[in-house]
């Protein structure tokens, strides 16, 4: 599989009055061509900052990329100047934002907002761009695109606006599409349509997608691989089956157990993760999740766990995978999902720093 994007040891922080917020603390992952990687995590886990850093949308200052590389198509985006980024942003990498109400320009016709991309990046003529804009609107399933192209965003419903946003993002056939909670503001029925649409378009265009969300149902629906983020780090990463049927990190367990399932009648309490995420101006020593982790051991408060490799594609950063760790039982709701996966190694292996 060909890698389209590789993020290596990315660290991003923000200077604030309260001190330096270390929003992303050493994130590494890659994305293959044509695949969908879902990044899940709570607000403040750094998932949006990671994706915005890839787009170089972090305002500097107060934001700063402290270290790391973002290799996109063989080039390091961290080293690009703002001018160079303009050639990539919107052309090579498209982005869909969470809120379709605020991310479209209310004073511009929807058609013009799509045409803008085409004229700037693809050097199309105005008339050709308009034709393509209509085509794109049709592609994303907007009825009567000839009429819609001349309308303003306020004349569109929420779902329609999100479709228009997708059309803008797709206008220049980006190699990478970053979707930051694209369906969170939408109704389930519209959400289902948008997800179907994105998968459909991916099949047609072969775009790679980074899908940021906190809805595990959506993850199960769209993702090929999943990265779980907590407090600025990836704590577990694997294929969608590995994450849902063989999760290893207690935080992933917590996330899965806190979702009610539709078919269970039991009126037991949801297994909520107690407490709230740590303050990243002063990240805790050791495992950042330890204070909220019922499985935390002494070492979790002292030393950060290394990445363990459970299979070729499955990584988790928790001391529980250490050979000396006691055997623990995941929560009831998680135990019900567990399956034996044949791809697993006999024993988890520590990933060396250099890898």
């Amino acid at each position: 599989m060909e890698k389209l994007l590789e993020v290596k040891n990315l660290e991003v922080s923000f200077q604030t009055y309260g001190g330096e917020v270390q929003a992303v603390r050493g994130v590494s992952f890659h994305l293959n061509k044509g695949e969908t990687l879902a990044i899940v995590g709570e607000s403040g886990s750094g998932k949006s900052v990671t994706s915005q850093t890839i787009m170089r949308l972090i305002p500097t200052p107060p934001g700063k990329i402290k270290s790391g590389q973002i290799i996109f198509n063989g080039e390091d985006l961290v080293k690009k100047t703002d001018k160079e980024m303009e050639q990539i942003r919107g052309k090579e990498i498209g982005m869909i934002f969470q809120d379709p109400m605020t991310s479209l320009n209310p004073t511009m016709k929807v058609g013009h907002q799509i045409m803008e991309v085409l004229i700037k990046h693809q050097k199309m003529s105005k008339s050709a761009a308009k034709e393509r804009a209509i085509e794109l609107l049709r592609l994303v399933g907007i009825p009567m695109p000839e009429k819609r192209v001349n309308q303003y965003p306020h004349e569109f419903s929420g779902g329609m606006r999100q479709r228009a946003m997708i059309a803008v993002a797709l206008a220049s056939n980006p190699k990478l599409l970053i979707a930051d909670e694209p369906t969170t503001a939408l109704d389930v029925t519209i959400q289902a349509q948008i997800l179907e649409l994105m998968k459909d378009l991916q099949k047609k265009t072969g775009t790679s997608i980074i899908f940021i969300t906190h809805d595990l149902g959506v993850v199960a629906n769209v993702a090929d691989r999943v990265a779980v983020m907590y407090a600025g780090k990836i704590v577990e990463m694997g294929t969608v089956d590995e994450i849902f049927y063989d999760p290893r990190h207690p935080y992933t367990w917590g996330l899965l157990a806190s979702m009610p399932s539709l078919d269970s009648d039991d009126q037991t309490e949801l297994a909520a993760i107690p407490g709230s995420p740590p303050d990243l101006t002063n990240p805790p020593k050791g495992d950042a999740f330890a204070p909220r982790n019922p499985y935390a051991m002494k070492i979790d408060f002292e030393m950060e766990p290394p990445m363990f490799k459970v299979s070729d594609t499955h990584y988790a950063a928790t001391w529980l995978l250490h050979p000396d760790a006691p055997k623990v039982e995941p929560p009831e709701a998680v135990k019900k999902r567990l399956r034996k996966l044949s791809s697993n190694y006999e024993k988890p292996v520590v990933v060396k720093e250099s890898e």
């Binding site: 607000s43 029925t189 199960a220 009648d265």
Partner: protein, 312 residues
Amino acid sequence: MAEKQKLIEIKNLKQYFNVGKGNVIKAVDGLTFDIYKGETLGLVGESGCGKSTTGRTIIGLYKATEGEVLFNGVNVHAKKSAKELKTLKRKMQMIFQDPYASLNPRMTVADIIAEGIDIHGLAKTREERMQRVYELLETVGLNREHANRYPHEFSGGQRQRIGIARALAVEPEFIIADEPISALDVSIQAQVVNLMKKLQREKGLTYLFIAHDLSMVKYISDRIGVMYFGKMVELADADELYRNPIHPYTKALLSAIPLPDPETERTRQRIVYDRSQHNYKEGEELQFREITPGHFVLCSEAEYEKYKTMYT
């Protein structure tokens, strides 16, 4: 279940908005249902179906166009003295959908939460007031250092928790929660839902829980009403509704929920609802009819017969 006491009775409630040039939006178009004491009634539907308007009309934020809402037998929309109104307002509280718009940006969190306590005189001393604020902050998963901060310093999720603390501050009997958890993270959603359930058990609260997250609604609700274009199309016990949805719109809605299970997602069959599929004849009367005990569906006479034979 026999002696369920009605806390709220809603009778043929209508809420129309005049949008000018003779256009009227029928946001809520003839709702009749009851909410029993101590239960959670979930209200689901797409945006624009009138579920939020229903909540706001029940609490009296809008003056109903037609119909009435009785709270413990008292008509919410009838004229009352200031004192009566005050007691009524204390018993009914609301948690709003938009955590950005529902908190005053110029007030500290402590003052926002304590506003109700001050108005209703629930704390005798300053210390008691602050103590209460700290307790409330901790119940909703914030900590006491947050008390002197301003809303803009919080994330959307945290703001929503402040809103919940504010509603709880006056110890109400009935809470209308309008999409209270949509803005929160999964792990926090579970905390809040557990908290709401716990409060319900301890204080006998009654909830009207408005949301579009159907799996959470099912978890928290005893009964669920499904709304579509200002009308309630189906009302049943939560489990019953999910097991045996009758109205085609409910079926479509249920089929659209993404589940956290990759295998079922790969084989998902989505049902699409089209209003014209009913083929109602002209003059056919749509009514809320009971198909099986406690399971109501909006349907025509012909459909009623059909559903009756299909589901009983």
